[in-house]
């Protein structure tokens, strides 16, 4: 038994197990989030949500997957098929790849890159490429409109997203997410969301825009351009794009937790669970995910010019000013 366990922890084998685990995590996360989205929407609007398949609709995601697998994949006749079919892949990669630098529990991280924060920022911008590919490859007016909006939005909100992380990097003195979590300590008032509170808000808003959620869901504004950049997709190609959207929402919650809410650190020292600290990571991530869904069913959508103004004229100057504040305070109070 022990030899088998040791064998499983050998390097290439461990890596492939980790790949399977992360893929399992991402796919289940997407399925559960789709389900949760509909349930939360239901309860917020005083109805039940899906409740026919299984106990209280618990098997609904399974039924959805079976349905989508057996539906026809229609592509527009004039579409550029390679770009059209490459888009789900380009959208899926960032949603899965970033998980490898997130620490789930003490020591449990797939690859402890020393540039993890830059890696996260770089890989998430592949998502903008996926949106452009989906819109351009379909050769349809609505999808192109949605894709251009999506690209403008995603690159604009990427700037505050990146700049809001500088304070954390300065306080930690490292770009590795493992170091960031270790530096935050096991009491909730020592987590970065208190000293960096304005940047926590900026990161949260920019993260919402980055994963294209309401109130920033202009790339797929249903009342104007129907499905937006994914309007021509159907069947499993559409399901993969949708899964990538929900998985990146989960990913953004996990990153917010790791950077600002202490990752796997317990809120108080006596609640330390040792190896089982992934429980705290899960609880905090789930809370952030719930606030994402709560906002979706409570907020109206922004207009495109309001969206760009908000990003460039409020969030970016706020980040730069806060950079001065953090640097100045660190100069006055060292350590």
């Amino acid at each position: 038994m022990q030899t088998v366990l040791n064998l499983l922890e050998m390097e290439p084998i461990r890596f492939f197990i980790a790949f399977g685990a992360i893929l399992f995590l991402v796919l289940n996360l997407a399925a559960i989030l789709v389900m949760a989205e509909r349930k939360v929407a239901g309860y917020i609007q005083l109805r039940y949500g899906p409740n026919r398949v299984g106990w209280r609709g618990i098997l609904q995601p399974l039924a959805d997957i079976i349905k989508l697998f057996t539906k026809e994949n229609v592509a527009p006749g004039r579409a550029d098929l390679w770009i059209f079919l490459g888009a789900p892949i380009a959208l899926f990669i960032p949603a899965v790849l970033v998980w490898i630098v997130i620490p789930f529990a003490p020591g449990a991280v797939v690859a402890d890159l020393n540039v993890a924060i830059l890696f996260f920022v770089g890989v998430t911008s592949i998502g903008a490429l996926g949106v452009i590919m989906a819109g351009y490859g379909s050769r349809s007016s609505f999808s192109l409109l949605g894709a251009l909006r999506g690209a403008a939005q995603m690159i604009s909100y990427e700037v505050p997203l990146i700049l809001s992380l500088l304070g954390i990097v300065m306080l930690t003195g490292s770009l590795s997410l493992v170091d960031v979590v270790n530096a935050q300590g096991d009491t909730f008032w020592s987590w970065y969301f208190l000293p960096q509170f304005p940047m926590f808000i900026v990161f949260y808003i920019a993260g919402l825009a980055e994963v294209k959620r309401v109130p920033f869901d202009l790339p797929e504004g249903e009342s104007e351009i129907v499905g937006g950049f994914m309007i021509e997709y159907s069947g499993m190609t559409w399901a993969l794009i949708q899964a990538a959207e929900f998985a990146s929402m989960g990913l953004m919650s996990a990153i917010t937790t790791t950077l600002f809410l202490g990752g796997w650190q317990p809120p108080l020292p006596f609640l330390d669970l040792g190896q089982f600290n992934w429980f705290w990571f899960g609880i905090k991530t789930a809370l952030i995910m719930f606030t994402f869904q709560w906002i979706r069913w409570s907020m109206p959508r922004l207009r495109m010019d309001q969206l760009m103004d908000f990003g460039w004229k409020i969030l970016v100057p706020a980040c730069l000013i806060w950079l001065f504040v953090t640097a100045g305070v660190m100069l006055i109070i060292p350590g």
């Binding site: 366990l5 499983l8 922890e9 050998m10 461990r14 890596f15 980790a18 790949f19 697998f69 026809e72 994949n73 592509a75 527009p76 006749g77 004039r78 789900p88 892949i89 990669i93 899965v96 790849l97 490898i100 789930f104 020591g107 449990a108 797939v110 690859a111 924060i117 830059l118 351009y136 379909s138 050769r139 349809s140 007016s141 609505f142 251009l148 403008a152 690159i155 604009s156 990427e158 700037v159 990146i162 500088l166 990097v169 300065m170 003195g173 770009l175 499905g227 021509e232 069947g235 499993m236 993969l240 190896q275 495109m304 760009m308 460039w312 970016v316 730069l320 950079l323 640097a327 100069l331």
Partner: protein
């Protein structure tokens, strides 16, 4: 305990090789799902189905044509701030050891970019028409 998730000590290059392999595996997985869906699902082509969706109207214009110039301005601004961030991250990592000198350097650097942002703002480049 956390079976298969505890990272072993390994060479610097191997780690990035893993990232590359991981990316290829994800690509392979998505491609497999697409192929599988194509094999399982029915496929009855027709010219009507191959038309693009525009809420029931037939399309007049071809969407593949030059884009409005305002996207270009935002892309340029994004590029400037992205490169700025690329310079600021290494500075932020070692800031604790730099002291007053590092602070002044950063103030000068960010101020120049701030003036650039103010200029773009005043010129109306941030206005979405």
């Amino acid at each position: 305990m956390a079976l298969g998730l505890i990272q072993q000590e390994m060479a610097y290059g191997t780690l990035y090789l893993y990232v590359g392999i991981f990316m290829l595996l994800v690509t392979g997985f998505v491609a497999t799902v697409l192929v599988l869906a194509r094999l399982i699902s029915p496929s009855r082509r027709s010219t009507t189905k191959a038309e693009i969706y525009e809420t029931g109207e037939s399309t007049v214009t071809d969407p593949w044509r030059p884009f409005p110039v305002r996207y270009y301005v935002f892309a340029l601004l994004f590029l400037i701030f992205d490169v700025e961030a690329a310079f600021l991250f290494p500075w932020a990592v070692v800031y604790q050891d730099l002291g007053v000198y590092g602070f002044v350097e950063m103030v000068v650097f960010v101020s120049i970019l701030g003036v650039g942002l103010a200029y773009a703002w005043k010129k109306g480049a941030l206005k979405w028409v």
